[in-house]
Amino acid sequence: MAAFLLRRLGHAMLVLLVVCTVTFAIVHAAPGGPSLLADPKLSVAERAAIAERLGVDRPIPEQYARWLTRLARGDLGNSFLYETNTASTIAQRLPNTLLLAGTALLITIVVAIPLAAWCAERPGGWLDRIAGALAMGAISIPVFWLGIVCILVFAVRLGILPAGGAVGAEGGASLADRARHLVLPSLVLAAAGTAELLRYTRASARQQYARPFVRAARAKGVGERAVRWRHAMRNALIPAVTVIGLQLPRLVGGAAITETVFSWPGMGRLGIEAALARDYPLVMGITLVVSAGVLLASLLVDVAYLALDPRIRPDQS
């Protein structure tokens, strides 16, 4: 197990380097360049002075070499947009994103898996039909629309929940205040993920129920509860873990649209701002953190496979 983890860690470092190189190339190839230089009112001399200060007047390979050298010293550089240290800018946003995406993921898991088990056992039942219809809706409705509608209903019309932000504008960030601000964005963010997980898990569970070992277990007189959870669902969860794993990167990457609609100060919105402004140091910093998160998530998924299915061995993966 230790050797497996060590090998995966080595791979991860290599992947990170490749991701950074490719991102650096792509973000520099994108049209426009840093928004600081795109102010049409700047004179030629002013534009040149800004480019020199930011270091973007140098050849791109040189800029990359400088970035890597600084990275080796643990310095992610200064954001163009914010004139602040990239690492501390990211550190300010990361807790908010962990909170929002984590809550959404928790809602997803807690709602989708028990519901999927229930629906798989009674296909075509009333709950299965309602859940199926809701899931279809949740997958089809665009997040920005669902978000705005929720704001209009719960904040504007009913006035029971705040329309946006992570805390009240006038400070006083009590736990209750934070929780109230968390309700709408986390539910909207969880909607599509829950629907997806529900559909995958339900389908996978249905397959398991039809397999001979479930019938064999029942024939042996195993109790229905044990058949469901120990035999059918345990096997049904392997694809579900994959789906959950795909959602894990959001814990660090944030959800750009939901965060924008709900004015949530998280990583997703920061990433969008950085990309639109061609804030190269910030884009690279976010890429680094998010890719590290993705790699960690995929490692966790592999470990979860091992736990769920003893037939999968580390040396085979």
Partner: protein
Amino acid sequence: MTMRVPTLPHGAWRRALSGALALSGILALAIVVACGGESVPHSATGKAGNGGTLRIPLINDPILDPVIAPDIGSVMVNKVLFPGLVRPDEQLRPTPDLAESWSTSADGLRITFKLRPGVKWHDGAPFSAHDVKFTFDQIIDLASGSRLRSDFAAISGVDVDDSLTVTFRLRTPFAPFLTLLGYNAGILPKHLLQGAPLTAATDFNRKHPVGTGPFMVQTVVPGTSLTLVRNPYYYGTPPRLDRIVFKVVPDLNAQVAQLRAGELDLITIEPANLASVQGAPGIEVLQVPVVQHYYVALNTTRGRFHPAEVRRALGMAINREAIIKGVLRDYADLPRGTIPVALRDYFADSIAPTPYAPDSALAMLARAGWRRGADGALRDAHGSTFDIELLVDKGNPTREQSALAVQQDLAKIGIHVSIRTMEFAALVRDRILPGNFDATLIWWTTPPDPDQYAFYHSGQDNNNVKWSNPRADSLLSLGRITLDSTQRRAIYHAFQRVEMEDPPVLVLFYPREIQAVTARLEGFPSLGIRDALRHSERFALRAK
């Protein structure tokens, strides 16, 4: 029927449970860390009042330094925190602010300001002429990261005569000087910023700015909000509000929703948002002409756009009134030239606007060698069609719809317009600056002065269409060195007449800023929000 609640047998489920617990642990940690935020309590706070809290949106975290701030949001906050020597009144004329009075030498090359005595910075330190000199030394320094340098290129030096008197030496007389002093040039504290580059003063720029304005920063929560409280040392009329909170709300639809939910008090909207605020309880819609002109820029280095009569003809083929009515919902004014109606002293309303006359446009184009063929398309003598690629920035409905209207109007006279939407930064850097465009739908926001030398004088960096008209050149050169306002008015009226004959760009409209505000707001001057924020001490909220 009994509910069958899923139970958790041993093995996998125990691990799943511990996973969920771990996730909850991370969440709890996140809550604690996020709660901590980056709150920065300020030592001094304003004395209690009953004026309430005004909440205004920003789209991102501002840079709290008026000299290096590059974006509109930062400009708005800085107008409250950092007063300038003068500020614009409701006629956009400069009136005293940090300066009490001023005098100009006979040759117009020296302007001396008497500063208001007894002014203190937010930290209690005394304000003096040294701060003014420090600020302008930074502004005109190319290496400082200053965004105001081109506004003040006429300054050759700043002298401190005594602690309350400062003299600006100019290279040439410069008529817009006072207006520009009241525009973005907030004064910075020398005692806190000297010795290091302005761009490196992160703590000042992000958390602890110190100005002399009626409100000062109490708390900054990155990505969320900026809370301003009364400045107890403020030199002017004591502020009526208790607090101004700038909330980061990046999405315009979300801003509208928050205004309706009572979580914001003052926003500016696009005509497309009008339907969602008009008639909403407790919300008023205000409109103010602003110093902007929206136009179609035609690249005059491309042969077909070079003749003035072609540009005039294209201008006559565009139905501006229909655009103002249909796209702007009448929240705009019909243009004459590039000097907008908001500049009341200089806008020449005696000039007739360009008429919508497609037939005359066709006749004019025929004289320039463009005739309609059997297929209806406009062609020159070699049979080439008149095709235009019109660039417009992505995501703004007003500009995108205006581009569509221009496309349809020009189609009616046989010109094929293909619209290409691009990100604004890419549009500017990859197409406009290198001169790689036929036409683009764009706008200028200018200081409240008619000086458009930088935009329309030949050979200037901002003259992107490369327009060149000798008469306009001499008028624009004369206008900026003429200090007498009557003479200046005559010069700019003459400039606008030249523009009607030889349009540098096709001006489509002068927009009005649409402000959606809580009906409780009082004391808000009839100005664009940015200029209005120079008078924040007058704002108040009626009790509910």
